[in-house]
Symmetry: C2
Subunit: 352 residues, 2 copies
C-alpha cells in the first residue's frame, strides 16, 4: 500500500517563484527534480527510491500471469463535471486491467506538459491522480516528465501504463465467448461524452450531466470471487457500446443481440444527444462495461454488479446468438432489428 498522500490544498511548488511550467522543468536538472520530489512523489505517496531512478523494481505476486496495458489521456477540457484528466488517467488504466480479469497493482505516469501551464493546474491534476490511485490501491511507481514549447501541446497530456495480476483462472477474452452467453450491461450510457463536450463547448442543460467516470476493479473482482463464469469483459470507452459489441462479435465470430429496452439512457442524456445529434450507443463512457457470462450465472452476476454503486442500474441487456455471426444487432422498442455498425471515427473528439 502506498503511503498516505499529502493532500494539502497548497501547491507544494512556490507559485510566486514558479507560477507556470517552464521548459527547464523537463530538463533533467534541479527544477525537474523539485517538481518530481515536491509535487509528484508527494501527491502519489510514492516512497520507493526506485521512482527516482531509471526503473522501479516490483514483485507482482500471484499466478505468474500479468496484464499489461497503456493509455494516453488528452481529454479537453482538463476538468469536467464528474472528473478530470488525472483521475481518468488512473481509473482508465485500472479499468483496462480489470477487463482482462486483473487486479491493478502498479502504474507508470508519463507527463507531457505545455510550457506555460499554470503550476496550480498541474497540482490539481496530480493531486487527483494521487487520490484515484489511493482509492484503487494502485501504486504509481515510475514516471517521466517532458515539457514542450508553448503551442506544441495542450496543457497536459498524461500516459499511464499499468501492470495487474490476473485473478481469473479462465481466459477472459472474445475467444472465450460462447453462443448462449448472457450479456450484462453495467449501467446507463452516454454521460461521459456528453459531460465533456458540454463542458468544452459551454453548453448548459437543465439538469447537471456528470461523467460516469469510475473505477471498475472492485466490481470485476467481486464477479470473479463470486465464481461467476466470466467469458469476456469490455469497458465502453471510445466508440461506446455499439463499437465494443461490434468488435467482440467480429473477434468471437458470433452474433450479438441487444434489447433496446434494457439499455438504460437517462432522459437528460437522451435529450442532450438528440439536441447535439449523437447516438448514445456510440458515445464514450468511462465507468461502464459489458460482461459476457454463462447464461446460468446471469442473475447472480446481475445481483453482484448491482450491489456496487457503479453498477446500480445494471441490466441483462442481451445474449450471444448463433445467427448473424460477426455482427451486433439492436432489437428496438418497436420490435425492429437495427444493425450496430462501426463508425469510421468518434463523433466526439478528445473525450479521453
Amino acid at each position: 500500500m502506498p503511503e498516505t498522500p499529502d493532500f494539502t490544498l497548497v501547491c507544494p511548488i512556490p507559485i510566486a517563484d514558479y507560477p507556470n511550467v517552464m521548459m527547464a522543468h523537463g530538463g533533467g536538472g534541479t527544477l525537474m527534480r523539485q517538481l518530481i520530489e515536491k509535487m509528484f512523489l508527494r501527491a502519489f505517496g510514492t516512497t520507493d527510491a526506485g521512482a527516482q531512478h531509471d526503473s522501479a523494481i516490483i514483485e507482482p505476486a500471484g499466478t505468474g500471469k500479468i496484464a499489461f496495458t497503456t493509455d494516453s489521456y488528452v481529454v479537453s477540457p482538463l476538468f469536467f463535471p464528474g472528473g478530470d484528466i488525472g483521475s481518468m488517467a488512473v481509473y482508465g488504466t485500472v479499468n483496462d486491467l480489470a477487463m482482462a480479469g486483473a487486479r491493478a497493482r502498479y502504474l507508470s505516469a508519463g507527463f507531457i506538459l505545455e510550457e506555460g501551464l499554470p503550476m496550480e493546474t498541474l497540482w490539481r491534476v496530480v493531486r487527483s491522480m494521487g487520490e484515484a490511485a489511493r482509492r484503487t490501491s494502485v501504486r504509481i511507481v515510475t514516471g517521466d516528465t517532458k515539457v514542450v514549447d508553448r503551442g506544441k501541446g495542450d496543457g497536459v497530456f498524461i500516459n499511464t501504463a499499468g501492470i495487474g495480476v490476473v485473478e481469473s483462472p479462465a481466459e477472459i477474452s472474445p475467444r472465450s465467448v460462447r453462443v448462449g452467453d448472457a450479456i450484462l450491461l453495467s449501467g446507463d450510457l452516454g454521460r461521459h461524452g456528453i459531460a465533456v463536450i458540454a463542458s468544452r463547448e459551454g453548453i448548459e442543460f437543465e439538469t447537471a450531466i456528470e461523467s460516469d467516470l469510475a473505477p471498475l476493479g472492485d466490481v470485476v473482482m467481486a464477479l470473479l470471487a463470486g465464481g461467476i463464469a466470466v467469458r469476456c469483459l469490455r469497458d465502453l470507452t471510445r466508440g461506446g457500446l455499439a463499437s465494443a459489441l461490434n468488435e467482440i462479435a467480429e473477434s468471437a465470430g458470433v452474433g450479438i443481440e441487444i434489447e433496446e429496452s434494457k439499455v438504460p439512457v437517462r432522459d437528460d442524456v437522451r435529450g442532450a444527444c438528440e439536441l447535439l445529434g449523437f447516438d448514445p450507443l456510440y458515445v464514450a463512457n468511462e465507468g461502464r462495461f459489458v460482461a459476457f457470462v454463462e447464461q446460468a450465472d446471469a442473475e447472480r452476476a446481475l445481483e453482484i454488479v448491482r450491489f456496487h454503486a457503479c453498477g446500480a442500474n445494471a441490466e441483462i441487456a442481451g445474449r450471444v446468438s448463433e445467427s448473424g455471426a460477426g455482427r451486433a444487432t439492436l432489437k428496438t422498442r418497436i420490435g425492429t432489428n437495427r444493425p450496430l455498425d462501426m463508425l469510421s471515427g468518434e463523433q466526439l473528439p478528445r473525450i479521453c
Copy 2:
C-alpha cells in the same frame, strides 16, 4: 520472439485516400482499427490477439523481480542524424530497464498524433520502432492511439513503458555504491544533443555528427554474465554525465571523482559545443552509460564493455571517494578540481 515484421517501404495505409492523420484515426472506429491492424501490428510483428484488446497478458519468467519504467518522447525534429523518435522510443526504454540490471521483454506504445501528420511520416516512425524492437528482442504487446487537433501537438509524441526481467542477483542502485568503486564510462560524450540541435537549427559542421543512440541491453547483460560486481548503472540522457554523477553522489552519500583526461569527447563535438556555448559534460547522450563496479573487477569490466561496438571507447574514468560526500568533482587536465553542479534545466530542450 516477435514475428518478422513487414518492412516493405510502402506505407500500408493508402496514401491517396488518407494522406494525413485525421481526428477520426483516434476515434475508436474503423479508421483507428485500420491504422492499428495495417500499420502498427504489421510493423511491430505483433500477432497476439491481446494487442487489440484492453490489456496484453504476459508471463515474464525469471526470478520474479521485474523492472518497470516509462518515458515519453517528444524529440524535435522527428528524424535526426543517427536516429529518429521511433528507434529512440524503443532503445530509450530498453536502456532504462538495462540500467536496473533487467533484460527488456515487453513494451507498450502510446501515440499522441497531431491531426495533419503525413501518413508517410508516421509509417517511417512506426517502421523504425519495429526494427528497433526486433533488434533488441522486445515485444510491443499493447498500445494506444490518440489524435489531437492541429496546433495542439507536434507531429507525434510517443510514450513507451517497458517491463524487464531482473537478471542481476544484487541490487543495482545508488544504494549499492561503495567507497573505492571504479567508475566506467562507456564512450564519448555529447553527440546526441549536438546532432539533434544541429538538425533542428539547420547548423552544418565540417564533419557529420551523428547521435550515439544505441541499445545498451547486451553490454549490460554481458557485464552481469561475466560475473562483474556491478553496483550502479546510469545512462547519460537529459543532463548528461555531470547530472547523473551528481544525483548518484547525492543518493549514495559518497564523493565521486572523475578525470577529465579519461572523458572522451570527439574534437568535432567539442568544437560544436564551444561554438554553441554548451558543456559536453551536460549534453544528453542516448547510448552512453556509467557503470560503478567493484575496483577489483574494473579492468575486466572495461574489456567486456570495449568488446561491444557501443562501448569501444570506454574508459575507467573515475572512482568513488570518501571525501566530498554528496558531490561530484572533475579533476581537470591542468590539475584543478571543478565541482560538477546540477544545472536548473537542460541547455537543449526537446532532445528526447
